[in-house]
Amino acid sequence: MPRMTMIEAIRDAMDVMMARDQRVVVFGEDVGYFGGVFRCTAGLQQKYGKTRCFDAPINEAGIVGAAIGMASYGLHPCIEIQFADYMYPAYDQIVSEAARLRYRSNGEFTCPLVIRMPTGGGIFGGQTHSQSPEALFTHVSGLKTVVPSNPYDAKGLLIAAIEDPDPVIFLEPKRLYNGPFDGHHDRPITPWSKNDLGEVPSGHFTLPLGKASIVREGAAVTVLAYGTMVYVAQAAAAETGVDAEIIDLRTLLPLDMETITASIKKTGRCVIVHEATLTSGFGAELAALVQEACFFQLEAPIARVTGWDTPYPHAQEWDYFPGPARVGRALVETMEA
């Protein structure tokens, strides 16, 4: 199997789908000739022509709004918002329009649309290149929200997202584009080419939206994580020696409650990790669901380790980022509670 970075896997997913399905079109800021500031669409314009992959004006509302119109026509747009931090101007189109089209028209008009956006910190991007807005999507009925953590998943999930008949928010942890990252920013980085998860089948394959994956089996405590935090959690488990079962959620909505519940019924403890700010983050929903489903099995309070309730700072990036030390502490405390 070819080895790919996450960028290559994402590009490959679009490539496969553009080749198979004339309805798939790709556009966004700088995605055409140049191929995107993270190079995710490099070469697609050359291969499929500029009416299937093109540069958009800098207007996120317009990008999503136009894509909704295209989707309702019958196309399957897969569009890029340059950074998740810049999705807010498009939020109305996403929430009030894309998410509700099928419902309000009783299925007459639908919106098969994928909105890709790089998310998360760890690249010294400051307040406006580091955000993780997933909870702002999971609150909205009609959307699905996906966060892949490796090249293999990224390709399989992105193809599934493009084939999905409904709007899918596809959040790409930019810190993982070129290799896994466990939060040890002072250590050398392993590229995907040296990691098994960089092995990605060529051609068409999908992973179902709504299925989590257990990335580490364990008996002591269940860790719920996604994106970059999957690796941070693994580092924390390794470093503390806590026998954690680590679940990579992959899709936040629909959520794989079956896998989550089975694990927590086994371990009796739960730590939730995400990079977004704490209050009303997706961890809140996870905690609420877990305590509801597993109340009588829980032996300790569910802990959340997250970004702080501040904007994402530039200089204090590693104070903000919920790294392995903080996650490790939560594991130990949860075991001791």
Partner: protein, 410 residues
């Protein structure tokens, strides 16, 4: 150093408020027939002045004049008048129904009937409108079932939208009528995207975007113009300037530009103004703009100058913010009366035939209403089920929604 006088904030005000005498002397109205009809592939720069004039066909005597006249047969005009009369009657009945508590809300078209009725006739099957809540004429003129419309208004058991939408927020793909959003302006740019899709697919369908004067202030309006201008999308960008946005006069949205059509000038988009109460003028301009789009010549922006005679909605009482008689003073008259006079002048119509048509139409609308009410009204009779509420959020119901539906016991 110069000393400067203190700055002051300019807050525009309408010429008259309740208690005052209506005054439209500031509305400059060119003679019918006076505005030229440019070639379809005209350079937008060369027709900038059309954004500051008003294209009119019907003059005060009911004659059709000038280069935009002569497109419609007597039969087509009679049909157009019937559409407008039907829409007005439909509105009148639904207004009463709302007052009787048969539904929660209604919005009428009084005075603006010509715009959507005439525009629809200029479109072809397969074209798509992205309407606001004040273009039901697009449905009426395309022969969409009034019963279905009323069932939607009543949110009853036969409501095509299963009670999910506010009254008048129709949807009919078959009739080229995109599902209406309650959010203003959002669909303007979707129309552009739909038109781009038609071009991407090398089809020949065109889109029509609709917006009100007040809503042009929304930012999505800009997004639409940027995308339409850049990709030369086959779309007609319609602005219905009915002078009011709820209680707010059009000067607040328009600001220092003389007109709303002027907004198109900054985008190199041909921008026309047309007498919105003149069925013939609306049809002619729509035809011109649609032809441009279909010939791949790109977008056209059209401002329809009209007046919202009724209240904004059943929740509104305009006497609180404008003189009660303002609509009587509106210089462009009533679209139905103007077309009627024209037809009579042409010898194709008479007062009796008009009265007869009125009666027939009323009967038809009442019959439709009876049928619709047999399927229920908002608070009585048949209604969509609570189960319908959980359907259609996604193509396939995800587990968490299934669980919620179970909890709801439906």
């Amino acid at each position: 150093m110069t000393t400067y006088a203190p700055l002051t904030l300019h807050v525009p005000e309408p010429a008259v408020r309740p208690g005052g005498t209506p005054d439209f002397s500031n509305v400059k109205i060119p003679k019918a027939g006076a505005v030229p009809r440019p070639d379809i592939d005209v350079d937008p720069e060369s027709i900038r002045d059309l954004a500051f004039s008003i294209i009119r066909v019907l003059n005060r005597n009911g004659e059709a004049a000038g280069p935009w006249a002569g497109l419609l047969t007597d039969e087509e005009l009679v049909e157009g008048m019937r559409h407008m009369m039907t829409l007005r009657t439909f509105d009148a009945r639904m207004l009463i129904a709302q007052r009787q508590g048969k539904t929660s809300f209604y919005m009428q078209h009084l005075g603006e009937e010509a715009i959507s009725c005439a525009f629809r006739k200029a479109l072809s099957p397969g074209d798509m409108n992205f309407p606001t809540y004040r273009q039901a004429g697009l449905l009426i003129a395309d022969g969409y079932s009034m019963v279905d419309m009323m069932c939607q208004v009543y949110s009853n058991s036969r409501d095509p939208l299963k009670g999910r939408q506010l009254p008048v927020m129709y949807s009919s793909k078959e009739h080229g009528f995109f599902t209406i959003s309650g959010n203003l302006a959002t669909q303007y740019v979707q129309a552009v995207g739909w038109a781009m899709a038609s071009a991407i697919c090398n089809d020949t369908k065109v889109a029509a975007a609709w917006i009100g004067d007040g809503s042009t202030a929304e930012s999505d309006f800009h997004a639409a113009l940027v995308f339409a201008s850049t990709y030369k999308a086959p779309v007609i960008l319609n602005i219905v300037n009915n002078q009011w946005a709820i209680s707010t006069f059009q000067g607040i949205a328009r600001g220092g530009s003389g007109t709303f059509a002027a907004r198109g000038l900054g985008f190199g988009i041909p921008s026309l103004r047309v007498d919105g109460n003149d069925y013939l003028a609306v049809y002619a301009v729509a035809k011109w703009a649609i032809e441009r789009a279909r010939l791949n010549l790109g977008p056209t922006l059209v401002e329809y100058v009209t007046y919202r005679v009724g209240a904004h909605s059943t929740s509104d009482d305009p006497s609180a913010y404008r003189p009660k008689t303002e609509s009587d003073a509106w210089p462009l008259g009533d679209p139905i009366i103007r077309l009627k006079n024209h037809l009579i002048m042409r010898g194709a119509w008479s007062d009796e035939r008009h009265k007869q048509a009125e009666a027939e139409i009323l009967d038809t609308v009442i019959a439709a209403q009876k049928e619709a009410e047999s399927y229920g009204t908002l608070h009585a009779g048949g209604k969509p089920s609570a189960r319908d509420m959980f359907d259609g959020v996604y193509a396939e119901m995800p587990p968490h929604l299934r669980r919620q539906r179970q909890q709801a016991g439906v």
